[in-house]
Amino acid sequence: MSTFGLIQLHKPGSYSLTFNLYPSLMSINTQQLLQKKKKNILELWMRNQLADEGLREDLISNEELRSQSEELITALVSNLTAENSVDLNSDEWSPVVEILGGIAITRARQGFSPRETGNFLFSLKEALLEVLQEEITNDPQALFNESIKINRIMDNLSVVTFETFIKGREEVILRQTDEITEISTPVIRLWDGILALPIIGTLDSARTQVVMENLLQEIVATGSSIAILDISGVPAVDSLVAQHLIKTVSATRLMGAECIISGIRPEIAQTVVHLGIDLSNIITKATLASALAYAFKSMRLEVRKINTVQKF
């Protein structure tokens, strides 16, 4: 059996030889002992956790922490049966792993740091070892063996916790990335035949693709002949971003519409020229207002101030 099975290494079998050399069964005594001392362990654990400076009372209440801890400890201790191995992949361990995974994911979403999440488990290990040390006083060899086993189980559980924790964090990041791409590329109809697309945030290949597709679809849907790409919200323009912009402009041109880039800040103009990017065949304007004025002009529209006050 492989103690590393849960990490899903490519060859889980490669570890089995090493670990089979050790007797992996928890002796009945220890199991009963821990079962009996469950309350003690919980108290010790809670004390350890509460003493920790990194305790996040703002994120989790003490009662909640206690109930979480109790749930985990109950599942853990009842699982340390004689027949059980330290193989976390086995079905017997799935309740513990499930509870732990739940706790780790919740913590990831609540915004706990990895250190805080790790300390949650490490303090349990300390509590377990402390109880063992108190109880097994006459046999150093047995104490050592049991400690090793506890250690190994807890280490494996820590690995599981971290994996789940990171997975939870990554889910949060992925969701946010999706949301950002979705909300940050709106195509606005400024006027009959004039579209505006304010870009906010850095332009990478994936976003350029989304921006381009949205813009082109909207051009077809509205029959617009002028599109204004406003980059006032783009923090920096390097050669790659410029490349993406040029691509978007060229694609718009191929569709038969004209594309104006507006919102170019002085720093961006400096970088573009320093990098030697050629934007000479693209119409660029400093502000969205001047781009709109240009669009009106090329559509032969005029905005005038009315002298006489009209009653609506």
């Binding site: 693709q209 381009m212 597709e213 082109l216 679809q217 051009i219 077809v220 029959g223 617009s224 002949s225 691509k247 060229s250 694609a251 718009t252 041109r253 191929l254 569709m255 038969g256 519409a257």
Partner: protein, 136 residues
């Protein structure tokens, strides 16, 4: 063998591509179109590719070729109705079709051609101003 019709509309030629172009068809179109431009003395060529959904680098080159050849024969080329996916593909292939004019649809393409011919006539073509004078 399929053949893409080339329609004459006044001083312009109208080509609507209703099928996906394969290489042979595109080559034939290129040859036919250049012949017709020469024969009819057309001032503009309008190619409608709104029904074309698949395009490759060869197609892009053919369109570029047609534009270049027409230009030599004193005719402007306008490509109209390109689909978004086709436009993105051409850009990704590195074919921005320089020298080809584009418009959203046939109507806009026609008015673009007309404006181009009207503008360029007094400069390049000696006969046009005389025609205008006669009309007045």
């Amino acid at each position: 063998m399929d053949k893409i019709p080339i329609l004459r509309m006044g001083a312009f030629l109208l080509v609507t591509i209703q099928v996906d172009l394969y290489d042979r068809l595109a080559l034939n179109l290129e040859a036919d179109l250049v012949q017709t431009v020469n024969k009819t003395n057309a001032k503009g060529v309008l190619i409608d590719i709104s029904a074309v959904s698949i395009v490759d680098s060869f197609m892009g080159r053919i369109i570029g070729n047609i534009a270049g050849m027409s230009k030599i024969l004193d005719a402007e080329t306008v490509v109209v109705g390109m689909q978004p996916a086709v436009a993105i593909t051409l850009i990704e292939l590195g074919l921005p079709l320089k020298g080809v004019h584009t418009a959203l649809d046939v109507e806009k393409g026609m008015s673009l051609l007309k404006s181009m011919i009207d503008l360029s006539d007094p400069d390049e073509d000696q006969e046009a101003p005389e025609d205008d004078n006669f009309a007045e």
